[in-house]
Symmetry: C2
Subunit: 158 residues, 2 copies
Amino acid sequence: MADEALFQFLHNEVIQYIYKSAEYGEMENGRCITKLENMGFRVGQGLIERFTKDTARFKDELDVMKFICKDFWTSVFKKQIDNLRTNHQGIYVLQDNKFRLLTQLSAGKQYLEHAPKYLAFTCGLVRGGLSNLGVKSIVTAEVSVMPACKFQVMIQKM
Amino acid sequence: MADEALFQFLHNEVIQYIYKSAEYGEMENGRCITKLENMGFRVGQGLIERFTKDTARFKDELDVMKFICKDFWTSVFKKQIDNLRTNHQGIYVLQDNKFRLLTQLSAGKQYLEHAPKYLAFTCGLVRGGLSNLGVKSIVTAEVSVMPACKFQVMIQKM
């Protein structure tokens, strides 16, 4: 519980900080999102190295995705992804019905517009993790009813 | 292990980010330290609320300090403070012989000058924690041989 809180509070501070420095400068919303995403990317790269240190080699792309949904997600967010779907053509949808970084926000529609800034870091985290496993991707997130959330991973064939 | 890594990587990113934005702007080193310290302060405030939710009331200032050295430190850094000293006049020195946020740096003298930026957040963390327990303080840190580190807490009598 303590660890989660530490990550969550620090994550909030980072969002605050980036958005606050944007107010004073010329940075638009889009650039804040990009910065958060980039931070997540590098953290994801680092984490996946630690996590996969002793795991067996992955069979294929789906195997990698399952690892992200189970082990990776559990380590970071203390629960697994609730649902993984794929069109078998390089698109994966990871659904988390109670995404930890959103549970602190009120579930009403009122704060829906603020959701993207709480998801950007995690999009980067997934992209960074996949990247260090040799899978290049684009990751986006979507919320319709908080705190549920869908991450869409589009694999970039190389 | 995973959690520590998550915090550590994110902490590093925050340092990088703040120092990088300073390069482009007019921010001096001192202001970066202050920003990190302030972030730590708010995170410390949040954490101590969670941690002390179910603890008994503290007897006195020393009791509070012991809680910081044991429970608080263990939650955040996975070990206790190795040594706590006080002059019984409001100054406490907390020594950590293997401070987690420094163990990633090479132990040589070479990186000693970079130590302050890895300590600022934690100084704030302690100050914020104490503050929400009703103890106003000034917290500074000092490194002579990495990764050992001393935090000096000066209580501000109100």
